[in-house]
Subunit: 350 residues, 3 copies
């Protein structure tokens, strides 16, 4: 990746508490993946697939694990930087090469702001933002163009709301939260009751609470509680097009991958991973550290630490076996019918 | 749920045509679910799970079915309100505690409105709304911030369009419709035809018709007809992230749960339920009162009243059996192979 | 479909290089599908289902394949137009009856435009559009209401961006591209790394490249590359609610149907079709001309030209057999158990 910046390898290593092996004076002018790096680029290797072929990268420098010793200083064709977390540290360097644009704080004249607004220091409110009554924003909050914020919403400091996000009334958002474009927070849940032959709408009087350091992908839909709250606890990360229904609770540091749907009143524990396109029924409990496989259909509780896959969900190891057998079903059926025939013919033989 | 309001139980019961058993003068200060209610709250119980443990709620009052008799006046620890529809009536009380904010009608100065606009009494057009030419809005229509309305669109009275919704030209919307944020109505369908080695776009000249009392969830995509209309009949309710393709027809009071996709030219009858994440192929007919289970893949017509599940879809009761057998496939295969071996060995034995 | 327009059949045929059989002077006043056409309408038939029942349409004229001979001039009840591509030509006529509204080029006073903006001839920038710094738009580009365009974005000529679309910084868009409402392009990918017990965000320094003649449906989410690009090559068409993760590459003229999800760093070839709701795992290669069936779960590479379906994916023909056997699993299990019993009982018989 071309860049306007150049850094001396020694300085980059110092920034990471890393240690250079090779030419510490190397002038690094870009960063790239292992396979695409050119000779003035830095890259990283935290996996034997890459560590075993250091001689094949054209990168000028490679960040490697602190305890990596599988190299020969004599024949090394690139410099190394030993690091406690190569992936994380590589992306820290990528940040140095791609510094975030400094936003100029201020409130755009085309923004509309309701009564009793309380904004902290250094907030940025872009053109076309609409804010309701009784809204409180912490320091350095950024609301990008086209964002809607309803009444009685609060946001902690350093929270960033990307363009065209809709945040309905009573939503409580913590610090350092990132909300990607097109997402909707606090829409009414899907709650109706039969009455006189139609589905009568039930009021949704609850709210959404989003704790610190949560990151929400693009075009998510997170419904408010019917009563009480829908709650994403601190450190939760969601990917794109995720649906989270009313009164769902998602525990700390849980990851929800793209196109997952979680039905009403289900509770997920801490450090759970829900892989892409999985669906979880309502009123279930998914324990801490559980993993739900891609496309799984979860219809009953998942105990802590369990890994499940398939439709309906089953232990992941069992699903791997089942997945290998499903394509053999025509063969299994044929063999069963043949066997039946043989047993029948023997019985009819005197 | 804390509230600024207090109501006398007798007055609440009167509002519902209900009947108090116990202290009719009780001062109710909030409403909550059965498990979370505190001693001045009202809650409801319409299910034996709750009706059988009235002694366990801390609620001051519980709304119960009219014909419920399973209590002993002497030992009752809370007041009861007998009701013809406890769930509906409870949420009517929740509305009393959470009155909707009165919007101040008017047209924001930052809204942009095209030629030949006809707006009824008491309409609200929020900041940043853009309206095309020849648009007619009934009385008390509300268009919230960031809504786009194309040319030749009509809306009936009391329809509410939430923020950042996009309604393309020629859409016809009835009365009392609610459209949640981020939804797109009237986008072009996915229609191309091969020509000279590429996919040539076909014009989409049709429109979307949405009848009275329809409610559409957040981030839905409802494509216009290729020719003619895509049609959601009165009382249809859709959840979030639902895709409805060109020329689909959805009958009255049908419910479509989150992340469902319905392909082009399929027709659903009245009072159908399509559960979350189900997919329905194009050019099919789903009969009145049919139910499609969660995640089902519907590839052929479903007769009226039938309940189907699974991929490909099958009768729901059959799917329940199949779902129990799928995890046993490794065992079934093992037993088949063992049996084959035994039969083989017997045959080879003289 | 009623219309303000009338055309002489001879003139329509000439426009298509077609040839009239029957009344070339027929005055055509509308266009409709085969089943819905009335006597002054034109329709088309490119399929034996319709060609075999030309006597059943009420249409005044029918466009048929050039080499179609299955009619008798004497008894023909409508005029025919012989055409090299009946479907494409029919929709060309639909366009004549539904001419696109002429947009008046110009930049709305409520649009916000950053530094170093370069706009071509005849561009249209609607109310409420926000454009960042260093943006270049080709001739006749249209940005509709509520569109957000970040910094350093380029668009080729005749590209149309529909309302409420979000295009983040560094996105490169070609000529003749259409982006439907609510779509998000260039959001950060789902990239985190464990560090001190939490998921630490990795900077997403890459971008999205969209080549000429691409059409993107409503409410898509297309993430930027982590490093390098996410790339939709020329002629790609996506339907609604599609998720395309970081660093995905989609080859020329590939079709992606609604609600598909493609995980990070997967590469699709040219002329691939991915049917609705399919999911494709990360780091895979899908070959040219491959077809992925609806709802398929693709977890390994798909060779060029192969047709796969099912979860996990398998050859489509095998899946058709498997799909017929799955509902018979209860029967298969019963027969296996019965057979086991018979073999057991024979063994125990002396």
């Amino acid at each position: 990746m071309k860049s306007f910046f150049k850094f001396i390898l020694k300085d980059l290593a110092a920034m990471l508490d890393g240690e250079v092996v090779g030419n510490a004076q190397l002038e690094v002018s870009g960063c790239a993946s292992f396979g695409e790096a050119a000779h003035l680029d830095i890259t990283f290797a935290d996996d034997p697939r890459f560590l075993n072929r250091l001689d094949q990268t054209r990168a000028g420098a490679v960040i490697v694990p602190w305890d990596f010793t599988g190299f020969d200083r004599e024949t090394l064709t690139c410099s190394l930087v030993r690091s406690k977390n190569p992936r994380l540290h590589f992306f820290r360097i990528v940040e140095r090469f791609n510094p975030a644009k400094k936003t100029v704080p201020g409130i755009a004249p085309t923004a509309t702001i309701g009564k009793n607004f309380a904004g902290g220091k250094g907030i940025t409110i872009a053109p076309g933002v609409t804010i309701g009554d009784n809204v409180t924003l912490g320091d350095h909050v950024q609301l990008m163009a086209g964002v809607f914020v309803g009444d009685n919403v609060t946001m902690g400091s350093y929270t960033i709301v990307k363009p065209n996000v809709t945040i309905m009334d009573k939503t409580m958002i913590g610090q350092g939260v990132i909300i990607h474009p097109g997402t909707v927070i606090g829409s009414d849940g899907f709650g109706f009751t039969p009455s006189r032959g139609i589905h009568e709408k039930l009021i949704h009087a609850g709210f959404v609470q989003i704790d610190d350091q949560v990151e929400i992908g693009a075009c998510n839909t997170i419904d408010r509680g019917t009563l009480g709250r829908t709650w994403l606890q601190s450190g939760v990360k969601t990917d794109n097009l995720v649906h989270i229904a009313h009164n769902v609770v998602i525990g700390e540091n849980t990851l929800i991958v793209a196109q997952v749907g979680i039905a009403g009143s289900t509770t997920l524990g801490k450090n759970v991973i829900v892989a892409g396109k999985a669906g979880i029924s309502g009123h279930l409990t998914i324990g801490d550290n559980a993993i739900v496989g891609p496309g799984a259909g979860v219809v009953s509780d998942v105990p802590p630490g369990e890994i499940v896959s398939g439709v309906p969900q089953m232990p992941h190891k069992l699903w791997l076996k089942v997945g290998r057998i499903i394509p053999r079903l025509p063969d299994i059926r044929k063999r069963l019918l043949a066997l039946e025939k043989r047993v029948n013919s023997k019985e009819s033989t005197p």
